[in-house]
Symmetry: C2
Subunit: 418 residues, 2 copies
């Protein structure tokens, strides 16, 4: 089989579908999402049986428990996928919105209209629910989607795709609305990365290796959903109780995700009072502290931090700690080590809060709240396809609006340029 040809044909089919999807009426798109939801529930047994094949294969090769958990579907998880589809149907259709409209001195009426991106390629790894979630958000926003999942979930994904594609076609959407690359050869990704003109954007979702590889090799534009080396800075004027709650939440509520806290900065004037109590609690919660020399002096049993500890996204029960001399030093430290994902200051001081919001450059900058809120659902977008850490196009949680572009529509009356 010629892989290049195979992937290119799928993408051509997607492009044709995207043309129709781009002005498909909202009711038909919603109907498709509801049909997809129904079909998932009706074919639960089939999907679970195929998922079982993936799980057994994974166990055979000694896959880690965490990965097997991500791979595993059960009754409840399929129900959740079905519910997510219903919820996506209930969201407002972003397409056709006129973001603004104005009149020029030539009496041209110019409007900026929200339209789909076109064809979105999603390259992802283990979790089969991404197949459904990504397809739902793309269809609702009028985009065709090409899904390329990981080989560990190939049987689950193939089953899900068979079920939801049938529902999509039955609802009157073009067959190319959802394309799935059912060959897991790495070469399929290489081909996708070069399909300029057929694929409008690639969104890699998965480990740092996958994302780096796509960013470095794709000529198709990429939206980078990246790593989060998130800081919390406890200012001289922090409310200690808020600080403690936020730090424990940001570090521990779900340590393995990108919006979890990785590094703590504390103003020197409050370090003596604040750090020992906090660190005791964190250690009771099994968090390893890697601290600067001042932290080591104030707190017992601290692992000395090396420079890399401040640059690392642990995604684990490890926290780097540094005592800083001023707000400026905190901002400079964040500038140096941040991946510009989510950064927080804890302070009761108005001017320091405003300065932090203004001077720290990240997708989300917080005053007195947990970095864990950086999420499409929490922000009120009704879902997300990932969190962008790049500056171009979309930054932060990517909901339906972030899967769109705009076009200018111009109503004239015979105007020509002088």
């Amino acid at each position: 089989m010629d892989i290049k040809n195979y992937v290119t044909e799928k993408a051509k089919n997607s492009k044709l579908a995207a043309k129709k999807l781009s002005y498909m009426d909202t009711n038909t798109k919603n109907k498709a999402l509801l049909e997809m939801s129904k079909a998932l529930l009706e074919n639960k047994d089939y999907i679970l049986s195929q998922n079982k094949i993936d799980i057994e294969a994974a166990e055979k090769i000694g896959t880690s428990k965490a990965l097997i958990d991500r791979l595993t579907l059960d009754d409840k998880r399929i129900n959740n996928m079905a519910e997510a589809l219903i919820k996506t149907a209930s969201l407002q259709d972003p397409i056709g919105e006129i973001i603004k409209m104005w009149k020029t001195p030539d009496e041209l009426q110019i409007g900026q209209m929200r339209v789909p991106l076109g064809v979105i390629g999603i390259i992802y790894e283990a979790r089969p629910n991404v197949t459904v979630d990504a397809a739902a958000l793309c269809i609702k926003s009028g985009n065709a989607v090409i899904l390329r999942g990981g080989k560990e979930a190939i049987n689950s994904n193939t089953a899900i795709i068979r079920v939801i594609r049938e529902a999509v076609i039955k609802s009157g959407l073009p067959s190319g609305s959802i394309e799935f690359i059912d060959i897991t050869d790495r070469e399929t990704v290489n081909v996708m990365m070069k399909l300029n003109g057929l694929i409008d954007v690639l969104i890699p979702r998965g480990g740092a290796g996958l994302i780096k590889s796509v960013v470095e090799n794709s000529t198709v534009p990429v939206i980078e959903t990246g790593t989060g080396n998130c800081h919390v800075y406890v200012d001289k004027y922090a409310d200690f109780e808020k600080a403690e709650n936020i730090i424990i939440n940001a570090k521990l509520q779900r340590p393995a995700v990108c919006n979890a806290m990785e590094s703590l900065l504390v103003h020197k004037d409050v370090a003596d009072e604040f750090l020992p109590r906090l660190c005791k609690k964190l250690k009771d919660l099994n968090v390893e502290i890697r601290g600067c020399s001042v932290t080591q002096r104030i707190v017992s049993d601290v692992v000395p931090a090396v420079d890399e500890d401040y640059a690392k996204e642990f995604l684990d029960l490890i926290l780097s700690v540094k005592v800083v001399g001023s707000l400026d030093e905190a901002i400079d430290h964040i500038f140096k080590y941040s991946t510009n994902h989510s950064e927080a200051i804890i302070t009761e001081n108005y001017t320091n809060a405003q300065r932090f919001l203004k001077e720290v450059d990240a997708a989300a900058v917080y005053v007195n709240a947990s970095t864990r809120f950086t999420d499409g659902e929490q922000f009120g977008f009704g879902g997300e396809i990932g969190i962008s850490t790049q500056k171009l196009h979309a930054r932060g949680p990517m909901g339906l609006n972030q899967l769109t572009t705009t076009k200018y529509i111009i109503y004239g009356d015979g105007q020509v340029r002088k």
Copy 2:
């Protein structure tokens, strides 16, 4: 000299400058623009003398007249550059605008704030005025800029940079606000294209070859300012007078630019009446007509069009013409051949106008107006750094807003995620 090291050091300087520029107050930025303007006028003789060196060198190697014209500076052109700076100073500062703000059920107040992209790399060719225009738009929008001009203008650019950089520093902006790569070795571009983390976006401005090379080789995100294969479709219900005026304007007002018309589609029911008269006028204006078989039958002296003629951006006094059977066929033809820049329908029919606006996908879609209006100045943006033909980030004319990204700022009161 180690080129990689040289370019990287410049970019590091830019990144440091970008940090300060990102929250620089509007008055200081405006003052710098006005100082730059003044400095250009004060150093006119010096700039013209350096420009003369470039022109002589170009003449020596037999450069085309058109290119030499683009390269040439004179009193008036320097005055124009100085005026453009004053105008940019008068535009509203996009930075700090809160595009929207809302409250979540957790009582978090979330705002989306416009912030600079950071460091913008501009890779451009002959025209020295780009040096000033690009620098002005970048500074006003709080970005640091790295300029890499063509070797044919190296003396002019070096002189301009020396003059405006001095003004910038005098005004209190960081020295890295404007960096200039004064080595014309092609390798400098290669280095820029790989400086992820130091350069936030690259904007190539120039010929198709330059743009293609940057799009294909850059790992830094690129904004593509591309080609325009722009169509005008004369509907069955067109007002012939409007149609004729618009076609002549779109084709001839400035044929060598991307928003000029390249291809004409005419509904079959009006072709017999409309085409002969129009083509006569066009031929009198020295436009070569390359037509389909129907056009050849209706109009005399038509060059038979081959398929490539419909795909080509002539940038010259050549027009491809096709008679189509319906609005659907026109839309399909545009879908197939368009570069999605600017497309126009001429019609008095309400439903056809609305369908064309909805179904044609391009940066700018017109009813009854010339494609030549696709321009930052004409759209009311007060200037532009190019016209994006990609869908990601910016589409259409790129003014100050398109040189920005956003960050979410979140005002909390101790909230944690449940």
